[in-house]
């Protein structure tokens, strides 16, 4: 059917770069599975109030250390609190930290990287050498040092993780900017007297979008891992507020008798991070098919 093929070809040609990428993404089964799991986990955590109306702090004193059963699908902890409720409410905190910390470092890192790359010279040197110092300290260590200085709590935890994630974002943004800032269309924009801000946002930054999106996705996953580790050490979210890492840390002493107290929160972390990584990989392949092998 030649007519159909021609129509299909015209269809293909009409697609923009963005649509083309999205099409590739939707075709990727693993990435879609990741996205699907991620959406389910997010919705479950957001609906924690509906699924577990009694809240994460309700103690059923007569039913401590109950194994998974119909009433308590994930069992109960040392105080008789439903693990399902604690995992769902804890997920809110973990996801919040992952997303907010990444958003924070995304904004700061993009601005720093864009300024450094666009202006070059001394500004570039100052910004990048400062970031070199920040990235000389391993991420986990940086987060530990900052959050132990600031103290525990949601906001401090977000700040600590955001600081440790910023240098990588700045580098991701800076590299493509260095490549495009000498291009003719940037020069042309400058000739017609466009402001620096307009050139950066309108002509330069769009080139950065796809590596930035890819880095941000993987950073959300990494941030969640750091956040849970901080809470595991007792630095992040403070009790009685639940958090995935803190749940594992609290249940550690009962690992011999009641291993399910450790396995379920860990499974929640691993599943979330895994689905994010799957989606992130798919996104990378879709946005930059050259890199796919």
């Amino acid at each position: 059917m030649p007519k159909n093929t021609a129509a299909a070809e015209a269809e293909v040609k009409r697609r923009s770069m963005f649509q083309e990428s999205m099409h590739r993404l939707v075709q990727n089964k693993l990435a879609m599975t990741g996205l699907f799991i991620l959406v389910i986990i997010t919705v479950l955590c957001l609906c924690a109030g509906i699924i577990c109306p009694e809240g994460y702090d309700h103690q059923d004193v007569l039913n401590k250390f109950v194994g998974p059963c119909r009433e308590y699908p994930f069992g109960t902890d040392s105080l008789g609190r439903s693990m399902l409720a604690r995992i769902l409410y804890g997920g809110r905190n973990s996801l919040k930290i992952g997303v907010m910390a990444t958003a924070f470092s995304g904004v700061v890192g993009t601005v720093l990287g864009a300024v450094a790359g666009f202006y070059g010279g001394r500004v570039d040197n100052i910004i990048m050498r400062t970031l070199d110092i920040f990235s000389a300290i391993p991420n986990m260590l940086m987060a530990i040092a900052v959050s132990s200085a600031l103290g525990g709590g949601l906001i401090n935890c977000i700040i600590a993780i955001a600081i440790s994630g910023t240098p990588q974002i700045a580098r991701t943004v800076r590299a493509p900017i260095l490549a495009v800032k000498e291009q003719e269309y940037v020069e042309a924009a400058r000739e017609i007297d466009a402001s620096d801000a307009r050139i950066i946002f309108r002509h330069v930054l769009p080139n950065v979008l796809s590596p930035l999106i890819v880095t941000l996705t993987s950073q959300v996953a990494a941030s969640i891992l750091v956040a849970t580790a901080l809470s595991f050490l007792g630095l992040g979210i403070q009790p009685p507020e639940p958090e995935w890492g803190a749940l594992i840390s609290n249940s550690r002493q009962y690992i011999r008798e009641y291993p399910f107290l450790v396995t379920f929160p860990g499974l929640a972390i691993a599943l979330t991070v895994l689905s994010m990584n799957l989606f992130g990989d798919g996104l990378r392949d879709a946005l930059d098919p050259k890199l796919k092998n």
Binding site: R129, T130, D132, I133, F134, A136, I137, P138, N139, M140, L141, M142, I144, A145, V146, S148, A149, L150, G151, Q168, R171, T172, A175, P211, V214, T215, A221, L225, T228, A229, F232, L233, G234, L235, G245, I248, S249, R252, I255, R256, P259, V262, T263, P265, G266, I269, A270, V273, L274, M276, N277, L278, D281, R284, D288, L291, N293
Partner: protein, 330 residues
Amino acid sequence: MARYIAKRLLLMIPVLLGVTFLIFALQLITPGDPARLMLGDEATVADIEAWHASHGLNDPFLIQYIKYIWNIITKGDFGISWRTGKSITTEVVSRWPTTFLLALLTTAISVILGLLFGITAAKKRGTWIDSLVRVIAMIGVSMPNFWFALLLILLFSVRLKWLPVSGFYGPKYWILPCMTMGFLGAAGQMRMTRSSYLDNMGADFVRTAKAKGQTEAVITRHHILKNALIPIINTACAAFAMNMGGSTVLEQIFAIPGLGTLMVSAINSRDFPQLRASVILIATTVSVMNLVADILYAAVDPRVKAGFKKSGAKKKKTEKKNTEGEMKHA
């Protein structure tokens, strides 16, 4: 080569000074007065003044920092503990080898496993072996290390009773911690090795080598692996930094007497000088290992050295940036 190493060493100094300054400056954002924290609510104003004076906290911040650095450089003295008032240098320095050895060992395990499985997956690309290895690696990079450690304890110590749960008294106690970080690190290393190996497998020089009838073994070793090695060294270096930084969590779980456990106890007792010294020591170790990696680059990749010779450090830096940029996308 000697000049190259010397220059890299010189470049490291400002970074290390910056790192120590950054860590030192953290005390500026710490809420509350450390003297009040250490001495308790009953302390009089005079007590607090005396405590400030004896811990050198009355000097301006910059003077404090310069004194601190001067003492570390000239005497190797990391100051005194806020909690006990005793010198912390011996404690910190005696714990360093454990953390360093553990990080080195786990990195070695992950590099060996990662290379082995990465190359296998690349060679068997598209088969079920490739898919299996990739799925396992994907799960590996998604697992929180403390949870994986607990699962290993559950299996090998609680269920099978093969290995001790925690402590650090002999070779038996090293197995579980090394397995935890070694396996998880191997996952990342494998992903990198696979993609880097595949990149080079399709390269023109490999086709040329095949066309002239070169044996498979020589092509693998000489043409592909040597070129694939640069991003692999990069990931190995990142893994080492991660293992050093992640030592806090790992040592806490297995009760290993290294810098990590010292840091956790310092955090719990709000003993900032002790935390500071540990962080500085770990960051310095990571920086030195980065330098070693840079020297390794120059050793495996003549382009790096040649670029350096021609136009000094500048060219070298851009080249390194390029490999870093490529790494991010891999």
